[in-house]
Symmetry: C2
């Protein structure tokens, strides 16, 4: 049984992490779920990933860089999810429910995505992801059988976005008393947004 000390140190982990960038983003998600995005520190992420505190700077430069990458990833994930749902159904309600489910399941990403003061809005990767998510949302509504057209289309899109975003924000903020709305965000959301979307 030969230990190759050039590849793995006595401490039990390799000198090169392998995928430190990914590990730092994952650690950031965990940290944000615990303490919110603004409490985040690069030193804490380094600790969670088991590397020295100066290592994160190699991959992200600074804290804003890391949060920019996280936001971009969030917009990508949301875009994928909306597109996936749209391929399976024509129901606007299901798209809305998917939006809320994304917010609850990816709380850390969601919180960062909508606090642009935390990251670099001009970053090209982020901007592209953001735009793609916007188009997924737009396409989800526009392609429906009874979708409105003309100036109404834009208003309908903003109404739909507002109601699902608002429900998600209130849910995440704990503003909705559980004795009224239950424990299941998906079921509660379905009842609430149905009122808007069911209208002709």
């Amino acid at each position: 049984m030969v230990m190759r000390m050039t590849e793995e140190s006595a401490a039990g982990h390799p000198y090169h992490h392998g995928n430190l960038r990914r590990a730092l983003l994952t650690a950031a998600v965990a940290a944000i779920e615990e303490s919110g995005p603004t409490g985040l520190s690069l030193r804490d992420l380094a600790r969670r990933a088991g590397v020295s505190h100066a290592a994160p700077a190699h991959h992200f430069g600074d804290k804003a860089g890391l949060l920019t990458a996280l936001a971009a990833e969030g917009f990508e994930l949301l875009s994928d999810e909306l597109t996936r749902i749209r391929a399976e159904t024509d129901s606007l309600i299901e798209i809305g429910v998917g939006y809320v489910r994304f917010a609850v399941d990816h709380r850390a990403h969601f919180e960062v995505m909508f606090r642009p003061e935390l990251y670099d809005r001009a970053d090209p990767v982020l901007a592209a992801a953001r735009q793609r998510a916007g188009e997924s949302l737009r396409a989800g509504i526009a392609g429906l059988p009874d979708a409105p057209v003309g100036p109404d289309a834009e208003r309908a899109r903003l109404s739909a976005w507002s109601i699902v975003h608002g429900f998600a924000a209130l849910w995440l903020g704990g503003a909705l008393p559980t004795d009224q709305v239950g424990q299941d965000p998906e079921a509660a959301c379905r009842a609430v947004i149905g009122r808007l979307f069911a209208a002709p």
Copy 2:
């Protein structure tokens, strides 16, 4: 011209501030509008109010204490505003517009109010203010001529709350592109929420 040095020091300000509690809350609003609620530091507020850095502890204990007071004040302000509007009109749209206008005009309060992890949710003054605001919102909807009754009433209330809260959050977060929605949150909001509230 007699200077009474016992009341006013040579530095030009009295030893006792007079209304430091109020001044610190006002300074907090300014600081939050600049850098968000989590960047807030008691030392910075003391600097803005022109007192020593240890003074804030006298009035609020710690940072959470100050934010609790600010959130409570915000719920009071919102409650007053909703009640005022309700007394003037039967229009649900105007109540919704008032909610959004409150969020934009009192951005700092609004941001803190819906981040309960920043303050002490159990504080009795805060809890009372919060409940009062909830009742104002409920009363605003329940009293309308065409208000739904029964289980629909609760769903209608959550729908209305979600859409105005979502619109406000998206607006404050800069998520709504200005070329689509203009510069005036009130006008944009009126168009967007009209779609929901106009439904019978």
